[in-house]
Structures are given as C-alpha cells and as structure tokens.
C-alpha cells in the first residue's frame, strides 16, 4: 500500500461507491415515498425524473443573483466532499487524515443551509418560509451531532472518524456500546424533514435532489462507521480485504438506507436522537473511567 497511485485509486473507488450509493438511495427513497402514499412510481420513474430534469437545462428566475444558480452546485459539491471523507470499506485511506466528524457534520449542514439561503432569491415568500422552517426543524441536530462527536472524542482522543472507528472496533464492550448508541443517534437525526428543493427547476433541481442523497449517504456512512465498525479492512490491507470491506459496506449502507426509506421522516426523530447521543456520551465516559 502507499504511494500516490494507490491513494488516488482508493479515493476514486470511494467516490464511485458513494456516488453509486447516492443514486441507489434516490431509487430507494422514491420507492419508500411511493409505498407510503400507496401509489406511484417505481425505480424506472425515479430515474426518468432525474433524466428529465437534467435534460431541461438550467432555469433561473429573472432578478435572481448568481447565488441562485450556484447554490445547488455548491450544495452537491459540499455533500459529495463530506461523503468522500467518511471511512467506508477500509481504514487508513488517503482521505482519512481529513475525515473529521465535526467537519463532515458542518459540511452537511452548510450543504443544506446554502439551499435555504438561495430560496430567498427565488422571489417567493412561501419558499423562503419553507426553507426557514426546514432549517429551524434541523436546529436540534447540531447539539446531537456535537454530543456524538464528544463520545467519539472520549473514546479515541479526537474527532477523526478513522481513528474513532479503530478505537470503537478495537475497544471493549463499553466502547462498542457507545459507538452503537452514537451511530443510532446519527441515524435517528437523519430522519428529519428533507431540505426543500421547490425553488429550483431543471438541471439545478436535479443537482439539489442529488445533494440531498449525497447528504443521506454521508450521514448513513457515519452511522455505519461508528455504529457498526465491523468488516472494515485494516489500514495497509490489500485488495482482497478491500473486497470484503466493500461487500460489508454495501450491506450496511443498503440495510440502513432501506430502513430509513421505510421509516421516512418522523417528528420525534430528533428527541430520540438526543437521548441516544446523551447515552452514548455516558457510555463513553464510563468506558474512559474504567
């Protein structure tokens, strides 16, 4: 292992995995919505919608500033970078030193906030209110994620996800319990309302939709990394171990994605997440004290 070529290859592999999973989540969430509504589109329809939006080109309301068109581009880029940083199939990859949980959480929050901000430019009061409501509804997620980061820092000495994953995997039952609670808290926090994409049309709307799916993939990957740190190839392992790691990661993310799609947005998701995160901190504190 090692060397710039291997580092680049693993980075590309990670990017491909995350992008593939984002597209898969688009289909899963579309099916979940359809099932709950007892009607509507299946996989082909979701793909058709995205292709149709993409072909429509960039549509911008007259009077909007450059930010309106830039927001979906920035949102999808930030969410994709966040997803790229989260450990997936192996430890010690090229992106690992930058895989900080606080950074990932903030990139995801900004990816959502930039869409709410740009809604102001669309010229519609209702859309502004929808964006603001969405942000307000997610306000409680910030303390939850910080408590999760605190539990990670208690176990590993810092907020790096790669180091945290190793500390939870190699730690005692207390560490694994804390990790499982923290992972469950991240998963529950994900089940809040989705960001509004109504202000956009055409290709920009497709980007805003994709940004949402990248955010979901990143959050699910964080949940899997700290909640279920098994099956991840050790740092320095070869391609055989990567294969096992990729299979485990796909299984974990697929399961969590299906679960999230089946449950859908829930009003009590954030309070539950707060309780789980608090329990994770207590479990981590007990582990440190022991």
């Amino acid at each position: 292992m090692g060397g710039p070529v291997t580092a680049g290859l693993t980075l590309l592999l990670q990017a491909a995995l995350m992008t593939g999973m984002a597209l898969l989540l688009a289909v899963l969430s579309g099916n979940g919505r359809a099932r709950r509504a007892a009607l509507g589109p299946a996989m082909a329809q979701v793909r058709h919608d995205l292709v149709r939006l993409w072909r429509k080109g960039r549509v911008v309301p007259a009077g909007a500033s450059f930010l309106f068109a830039a927001a979906p581009v920035v949102a999808v880029a930030l969410a994709a970078v966040a997803a790229l940083l989260v450990p997936s199939f192996a430890s010690g990859l090229a992106a690992s030193p930058a895989a900080d949980l606080l950074l990932v959480a903030m990139l995801l929050a900004v990816s959502r906030a930039v869409l709410a901000l740009a809604a102001w430019d669309a010229g519609s009061a209702r859309l502004v209110h929808a964006g603001a409501e969405g942000l307000l509804a997610r306000l409680g997620a910030v303390p939850v994620l910080l408590l999760v980061a605190m539990s990670l820092a208690l176990l590993s000495g810092g907020t790096n996800l790669d180091a945290g994953l190793a500390a939870i995997r190699d730690g005692g039952p207390g560490a694994r319990l804390s990790g499982a609670l923290a992972g469950a808290a991240v998963f529950a926090a994900l089940l809040g309302p989705a960001a509004g994409i109504e202000p956009w049309s055409g290709r920009l709307r497709a980007l805003a939709v994709l940004a949402g799916h990248f955010r979901s993939v990143a959050a699910l990957a964080v949940s899997a990394a700290i909640g279920m740190p098994f099956g991840v190839a050790a740092a320095g392992a070869g391609p055989e171990a990567w294969g096992v790691g990729i299979a485990c990661w796909l299984l974990k993310l697929g399961t969590l994605g299906l679960l999230a799609a089946a449950i859908g947005p829930q009003r009590l998701a954030l309070p539950v997440a707060a309780v789980l995160a608090g329990m994770a901190v207590v479990a981590a504190g007990l582990q440190v004290a022991a």
Binding site: R58, A62, A98, D100, D121, A132, L136, G140, M150
Partner: protein, 535 residues
C-alpha cells in the same frame, strides 16, 4: 481576617447602593461609607502604598491579542473612540487600581443616563464593579495592587470569594458594555482567574465560567436570529461569539484544575483565536452593516437585493456572514473546532460529574452555533438576496473607493485566517504560554489540532471543495434560461416579501432553547450529585 473585612465592605456597599434613592437620604449612604473608611483606617488595614499607588501600564501576550481585536473593532466603527481608549487602558493596566478606574470610566462613558446620583443604574454598576474587583485584588495581592506581586492561588473561602467577585464583575461588564462587554469579561476572567491566581486553581471555577458563557451566548444568539434591525442582529451575534470565548476559558480552567496544562493551552488558544477572528470578521460585518444601514435605514424588512445592486459591499458582507455561520474554510469554523476539541478533551480529564457539565456546555455550544448559522442565513437572505423591499434599497450604491479598499483588506484577512488558522494561532501563543504555562502543541501553519491526532487542515479541504465545485459546475454546464419567478409551477406576481417578522415569530415558538437550558441545568445538578456521592 481579610476575607471577612471584604465581605463586610461588600455587604455595606451593596446595601447602600440598593437603598440609595429618594426615600433614603444620600447622607446615610455617605455616612455608612465614611464609617467604613474610618474603621478601616483605625484598624490599620488601609496602608499608604494603596493610597499612593502610581498607575502602571504594560502590554503582554494576552493584552496584545485583545488590544488587536479592540483596535480592529475600533477601526471599523464598532467601538466608539472614547470607549476604545478607555478599554485599551483596561487591557494595558498593570495594577488593580488602573484597571478598576479605567473600567469604571468606560461604564460611565457607555451609560445612557448621567451618573449624577447614587441611585442611577450606572452609579450602582460602577460601585458594584469597583467593590467586586477591589475585593478580588485584595484577596489576590493583599494591599499591593501591582499585578507583578500577585500570582498566588487563594485558598478556601478566599478562593470562593475571588471567583464570585470576578464572575460578578464580568457579568456587570457584559451588561454595561453591550458590543464588547464579553471581550472585557473574557479578559477579566483570563487575567484574574488564570493569570493572577497562580498555577493551581480549583476546577469548579471552570464550571462557573461555563455557566456565565452559556448565559451570555444563548440569549444573544437567539436575539441575533430574531432581531428586526441589522445592527442589533450583528451586535447580538458578536455577543454570542464572545460568550463562546468564555466557554473556552471555562474549559481552560477545568483543564488546569485537573493539571492538564497542554489542554489548558489549547483552550486558551481556542478562545483567543475565536476573539481574534471575530475582531477581523466581526469588524467586517459591523462596517458593512453600518454602510448598508446608512443607505437603506436600519429595518431588515426594508432591505434586500444588495448582492446585485452593490456587489462589492454585498460580497464583503457575505464573507462576514460565512464566518458568522461557522462555515468551514472561514475563521469562525476553525475557532469553533478548536473550542470543541478543548471541551471534549476536558471531558477526558474529570469524572462523570465534570462530563455531565461539559455535555451540557457542548449542547449549549451546538445550539449557539446553530442559531448563529440561522442568523447568518436570515441576514444573508434579507439583506443580500431577493428583490429590494424599499426605494432606498433599490437605489443602494457601492461605497467610495477608499472604503471598498478597507473592506477588501478585511475580506483578505478573513480568508487568510480561515484557510491558514495556524497563522492566528501563532499570534496567540504568547498568551497561551502566559496563562497555561506553555504553548499549544501541534500547531502548524495550516493544520491545527492535538499533536498525536489528525486535526483540521483547511488547505486540504479547500482543494477538495474547489475540485468538487469545479466538477459539479462542469457537469451541469449549459445554457441558462431566464424566466419569471414561479411558484408551484405557475408564474408568480409580486416579487419579494417581508419575511423578517414571520421568521422572528416562528423562531420564538420552539422549546429548543428551553430544552437545552434544562439539559445544562440538569447536567449541573447531576454533577453536584455525583460529586457529592463520590465524597
């Protein structure tokens, strides 16, 4: 004996200040003070060296950083010149007498009513401040007010009184000096509790400072997200940032109480990096807000569309708002990241009681960061985006070339501090050495964090984000179609709306702040219970 005398003087002064008014003749208050003075002289506890103390001034690592912040805020008009001068004296004072005098004068200068009687609020605050700080200095240095003669930890009841006196003085400062009170409060805490109180201090001082920081930051952040006027929102946001700085100082005190000096150095550095960054981007935000208000009036509801009608001013304000929103690659995030690392690290230092307090503080910080991000989004939306909601806003022009150059310089500094936070950390290292006995470890020019763990490297993130944005922009390239604004697929008449009021009302409803405050109080109670049980 000394603590008892101080307690007596405090009780008499507070009683006198509270009673003075139309119903209680001033002669009684003056008489009480005179009796106290005579009694002190008779007991020989007012030695000549206090009366004859010459004022001395000195600039060290701590005061240099805070003076820089003050200078930046003064340069951009956030702090008035008279106040700037007095507060500079506060920061440079090398003895207790000079500090108390300069701060009392600053209180008077900022008072809205003339300090003509004992009953005026300003007089009461000045009196209470003087009594608190005099008590703290007496307990720290005896009758010698020079800072050089202090640095001995007060023990027992004296330690309790020092902490209470400093915290009360800090709270009074926050209340009396709205824009920069937190900065001076942080200085008082750092100077008296970290510097002059010796190398070993009780850990509970940290919990008390955390409580003060939380009490300051949460209401201010909420006001920032709700204010109907731009200047009020920006000022409240600054107060919330200063409260966050106090949270970092609380972590420093907790770490030093547990004898974890490297962690204390990190917490001190985090606080000062946050305040230094705020001096730059807070000044930028304050200056751009003043320029916007001069053109459109103060009401947010009458602004809008600045990014199109005044791009230079709009972009400058955007840079300030991105820092306020703690967006990665901007200085606010780097400082927040470091403050959180300090709080997390302090959690590893103590038992479950300390952990409960810190979990409450982390929750509070999360709420404050979330509210500040909301405020940034709201201010950005109302001021920069959409259509102008008043005639002056529609005619808003760019500022003069000289002002634009000043704004550009501040934007460059903001970006520099955001991309290379290590630069800022190198500036605050002397203060960390002064307050924590050593520099913060593991600080490079571009990456920050503990030496044995991967940290936050902004340039790496910049490359990744720039690459991802370029790729997304390239993939989504193509012709742009301009159409009329739409809603639900239909063309919408009447562009623009007055969102400020509705947003404010909506924000007042959720019980998130109440819930977090309850969590914090519960944490404190739990800490007390666990501490009691451990004994």
């Amino acid at each position: 004996m000394a603590p008892l005398i101080v307690l007596l003087v405090v009780a008499v002064a507070v009683l006198g200040a509270g009673l003075a008014g139309p119903r209680v003749p001033r002669v009684i208050v003056v008489g009480l003070a005179g009796v106290g003075l005579l009694a002190s002289l008779a007991a020989g506890v007012l030695p000549a060296d206090l009366v004859q103390a010459g004022l001395s001034f000195k600039v060290d690592g701590l005061s240099a950083v805070l003076l820089t912040v003050l200078f930046l805020l003064g340069l951009t008009g956030v702090v008035r010149p008279v106040l700037l001068g007095l507060l500079a004296l506060v920061l440079m004072a090398a003895d207790g007498v000079g500090l108390v005098l300069a701060l009392a004068l600053a209180f008077v200068a900022m008072g809205r009513q003339p300090a003509s009687s004992f009953a005026s609020p300003v007089s009461r605050r000045v009196l209470a401040l003087a009594v608190c700080l005099a008590a703290a200095f007496l307990l720290l240095g005896g009758w010698n007010p020079a800072f050089a003669g202090m640095h001995a930890a007060p023990a027992g009841l004296a330690g309790v009184l020092v902490a209470l006196a400093v915290l009360l003085a800090a709270a009074l400062t926050v209340v009396s000096l709205p824009a920069v009170g937190g900065l001076i409060a942080a200085y008082l805490v750092a100077r008296l509790l970290l510097d002059l109180s010796g190398p070993v201090t009780p850990g509970w001082w940290g919990a008390a400072v955390l409580l003060l920081g939380a009490a300051m930051a949460v209401p201010a952040a909420r006001r920032a997200a709700q204010a109907g006027e731009l200047a009020a929102a920006v000022m409240s946001a600054g107060v919330a940032v200063q409260g966050t700085g106090l949270l970092a100082l609380g972590a420093a005190l907790l770490a030093r109480g547990a004898d974890l000096l490297p962690l204390a150095a990190m917490a001190v550095a985090a606080c000062l990096l946050l305040l230094l960054g705020w001096g730059v981007w807070g000044g930028l935000l304050g200056l751009s807000a003043a320029l916007v208000e001069a053109r459109t009036g103060s009401r947010l509801a009458g602004m809008g569309g600045l990014l199109r009608r005044g791009p230079a001013l709009g972009l400058a304000m955007l840079a300030g708002l991105l820092s306020l929103g703690m967006v990665p690659l901007f200085p606010g995030f780097a400082a927040l990241w470091l403050v959180l690392q300090a709080l997390f690290g302090a959690g590893r230092a103590g038992g479950l009681g300390v952990l409960a307090v810190l979990a409450g503080a982390v929750s509070v910080l999360g709420l404050v960061a979330g509210l500040l991000a909301l405020a940034a989004v709201r201010l950005g939306g109302l001021v920069l985006l959409g259509a102008p909601r008043s005639l002056p806003a529609a005619e808003a022009m760019e500022p003069a070339r000289g002002v634009r150059a000043g704004l550009a310089a501040l934007v460059v500094l903001t970006v520099l501090l955001g991309v290379a936070p290590g630069l800022g950390l190198h500036l605050v290292q002397p203060a960390a050495i002064l307050l924590a006995g050593g520099p913060m470890q593991g600080t490079g020019w571009y990456a920050i964090g503990a030496p044995d763990m991967p940290g936050y490297a902004a340039p790496v993130l910049l490359v990744l984000v720039a690459g991802a944005v370029a790729l997304a922009a390239w993939l989504s390239r193509g012709g742009t179609t301009m159409v009329s604004p739409w809603q639900d697929g239909f063309v919408q008449d009447g562009v623009g709306c007055d969102n400020a009021v509705a947003f404010r009302v909506r924000l007042a409803r959720p019980g998130v702040e109440a819930g977090t405050a309850a969590l914090f109080v519960l944490g404190l109670l739990l800490a007390g219970l666990l501490g009691w049980a451990a004994r």
